[in-house]
Structures are given as structure tokens and as C-alpha cells.
Amino acid sequence: MLKAIRIILLTLLLIISELSIVPKLPSVMSHLGPIIVFLVFVAVVYQFYQAVIWAIILGLMMESFSVFPFGTMIIGYVITIYICYFVFVHLFTNKSFYTLIIMTILGTVVFRTMIIVFQYLIDFIHLGSLVLDGQILINSARETAWQVLFNVILVIIIYTVFHHSSRRFKAVFIDTIKNN
């Protein structure tokens, strides 16, 4: 029961922060993506399947507030998690602080790219032609860069909090920060 309440509260917190807190943050900070940070964190630190479940649940909830056709957000989150997992399994040997940061960067870039591609696809379906404006692409790249930066900052904060508050968490990671 307590676990269920915790999950509901966490889901609400993520939805609220993504929809009503982050967009009102000053200037470039409004590009922060707490949901994608959370999903990557779960995929790297906990179990991959848990991240997939969270991606489906959060995606489903975000669909109600999305301008894209139903399913876009779920597909976006799930594919992002799959790509991160694939890279993690094939390129990284273990879980560390640096792995987490690289996965966050990758997850952010993949998700943003997918959203941009979806946007172009929808425009293409509606307009019948592809409008590739250089300035829009530059702006999208700039926004992605800002999101990467703030997501990395957020994941560092989350990592630091967990690192200092959970022994189980410490056991999962190899300590790459400790001085020998």
C-alpha cells in the first residue's frame, strides 16, 4: 500500500514538475526534462524493465497534455530507454557515475531528436512537403544542448543525494570518485 502511494506520488511529482514547474523556470532552465532524467536513472541504477514500465505509465499520462497524436510520447520514452539500454549493455561494463552521466546525455539527445523527427513527420503528413528551415534546426540544437546541460546537472544532484543517503545505492555503483 505504502509502495503504491509512493509510486503515485512520484508519478504526480514528475508530471507536475514536467508540466507546470519546469516551463516556468527562468530562461534556458525551462528546457530541463525531469521525466527523461528519471527514466534514465531508473534504467541505469535499478532494473531496465522497471524503466520500461515507468516509460509506459509516464508516457500514457503525458499523452493527455501532448500536441502529438496518441502514442507518440509513450513510443518516444520507450525507444529512448531501449537505445540507452542497448548502448549500456554493449559499450559499458559496469554502473558508475560517468555511465549515468553519459546515459543521461544520450537519453536526452535521443528523446529530443525523436520529438523533432515526429514534429517534422506530422508537418509532412499535414503539409505534404518537408520544410527544413536552418534557423529552426539551429534553435532546436541549441535547446537540446541546454536540456542536456540541465539534465546532467539534475542527475548529478540526484546521484549526490542518493550517494549520501542510501547504502544500497552505493553498492550498485563502483566508486569512481573516491581518491586512492
Binding site: 504526480l12 508530471i15 507536475i16 508540466l19 507546470s20 514547474i21 516551463p23 516556468k24 523556470l25 527562468p26 531496465f48 524493465y49 520500461v52 509506459i56 500514457l60 499520462m61 499523452e63 493527455s64 496518441f70 502514442g71 509513450i74 513510443i75 520507450v78 531501449y82 539500454y85
Partner: protein, 269 residues
């Protein structure tokens, strides 16, 4: 292998789940759940959005205030810089006016002259002396007349160094200048300083008829000092029957405390 199978299973499961969800959404089976969710979360989102908006506004207010303060500071600095520029411009204009007047005066009278800048006053303050930035190297000699404005005598060179000179002002008690009054009889006398407070014209015969506001100029009887340089005008006359001479207080047209540039006449061309 087992892990791969597990992953494949998960992929297949999630793909099926997504397709199912999309399907259920489009046949509107999911709609009541979606509506309920939106209805439940909307008030929370509204409150948090308003709260974020309020905090954001406060931040913006603070930022705007901060920006205004910065802008204000920048503008103040700009004003200070412009005032400085204006002051420089005014002083340059004043200097320019002075130079052009002196030039026309010297050209009209065919004088060889040297413009010098006042760089100080005498250090002991017992004498009414100013220091100018021209000296021997500029051809200056002791005794040369120094003027502050068109033909207004303010003193004579007292001491000459290589690159600067000391000018004894006409109101110093050591100063003596041969002068004449521009009246009908061209009365002559000696202008002496009064301890920096003013000037007196002495050695005026009792028989001479003087009037207040008569202009007093140099007589030209002194070496190096041409005639006709204005010294001042008669302010008051002291005539005692028992004395051989009468005296006149002379008021200069120049404020001796505000001399910045001087014109030194070196002689005729």
C-alpha cells in the same frame, strides 16, 4: 542468452502493450480513464502552475529591478562621463576663445607673444605670484608684461626658469607699474599693489583732474612694457589738501584667482 531472451521478451511485451494502448485509445475505451486522470490532475497542475508563475514573476521582478539598478548605474556613469566631456569641451572652448582674442590683439598691435598656462601659485602664499608653464626656452625674460585677456595687464615676469616662470601680479605690494589715466591730460602715475587686496595709483599731482571709472593703462615708460595695456579703472579718489600727491584706488577687470591662461608680450615684431 537468457538475458537476451528476457530483453526480447520485454521488447515484444512493451511493443504489444503500446499497440494495445493506442488501439484502446482510438476505439475510445481508454477515454474515461484519461478523462478521470485529467480531471484529477488538472486542479493540482493549475495550483502548481500558478505557484510557479508567482515565483517566476517574483524572480522576474527581482531581475527587472536588478537590471534597472544596473541600467541606472550605467546611465549615471554615462552622465558623469558626458559631464566630464562637456567640462573638457567648455574649457577647450574657453581656451580657444582666449587664444583667438589674444591672436587678434597681438596681430593688431604687432606684438610678438607667448601663450602660457597657469600651473600653480607661489608655494609660501606670502606673495601674489602665479607660476606659468613657459620659461627661458620660450624666450621669456624678467620684466615682460603678462596679460590675462585682451590687453588686460595682470602682472610682470618676476623670475624665469628654463621651462617655467613666476609672474608677480599687479596687486602684490612689491608690484610697481608705470601707468597713465586715459583722461584729457593723460595723467601719469605709479600703480602699486595693496597686499593682494587691490591697487593704488600714486604720485598723481594734486592739480590733475580725475574722475571715477576713468580707465588706467600702462604708460610705456618702462622697458619691455608697451603703452596702452589696460590695468583697470578708477574706483575711488583720495585727495588730501596737505599732501603733494593724490591717490586713486584702481579696480582690475580681471579676477586674479581665476586666471588659467596668460599672454606674455615678448616685444614688438
Amino acid at each position: 542468452m537468457a538475458s537476451l531472451n528476457k530483453s526480447t521478451k520485454l521488447v515484444v511485451l512493451s511493443v504489444v502493450l503500446i499497440i494495445l494502448l493506442v488501439f484502446l485509445h482510438y476505439i475510445r475505451i481508454l477515454q474515461p480513464i484519461e478523462n478521470l486522470f485529467v480531471r484529477l490532475i488538472s486542479p493540482i497542475l493549475r495550483v502548481t502552475y500558478q505557484a510557479s508563475d508567482f515565483v517566476g514573476e517574483k524572480y522576474l521582478d527581482y531581475k527587472t529591478k536588478d537590471e534597472l539598478l544596473n541600467e541606472n548605474k550605467k546611465l549615471r556613469d554615462q552622465i558623469a562621463s558626458l559631464l566630464q566631456e562637456k567640462s573638457l569641451w567648455l574649457s577647450e572652448r574657453e581656451e580657444n576663445d582666449f587664444l583667438s582674442k589674444q591672436m587678434s590683439f597681438a596681430t593688431k598691435n604687432n606684438y610678438d607673444f607667448e601663450i602660457a598656462r597657469v600651473i600653480g601659485k607661489n608655494v609660501d602664499e606670502t606673495r601674489n605670484v602665479i607660476v606659468v608653464d613657459k620659461g627661458e626656452n620660450s624666450g621669456l625674460k624678467a620684466g615682460m608684461p603678462v596679460m590675462a585677456d585682451q590687453g588686460m595687464l595682470v602682472g610682470k615676469i618676476m623670475k624665469v626658469n628654463k621651462n617655467d616662470s613666476l609672474v608677480l601680479l599687479v596687486n602684490d605690494d612689491l608690484s610697481k607699474v608705470a601707468a597713465k589715466i586715459q583722461n584729457e591730460s593723460r595723467t601719469i602715475g605709479i600703480i602699486e599693489g595693496e597686499f593682494g587686496l587691490g591697487m593704488k595709483m600714486r604720485l598723481i599731482p594734486q592739480t590733475e583732474q580725475l574722475k571715477e571709472e576713468d580707465i588706467v593703462v600702462t604708460s610705456g615708460l618702462e622697458e619691455n612694457i608697451p603703452q596702452g595695456l589696460i590695468i583697470g579703472q578708477i574706483e575711488s579718489i583720495t585727495k588730501e589738501p596737505e599732501n603733494l600727491f593724490q591717490e586713486a584706488s584702481i579696480k582690475s577687470f580681471v579676477d586674479f584667482n581665476r586666471i588659467l591662461l596668460v599672454n606674455i608680450i615678448k616685444g614688438k615684431k
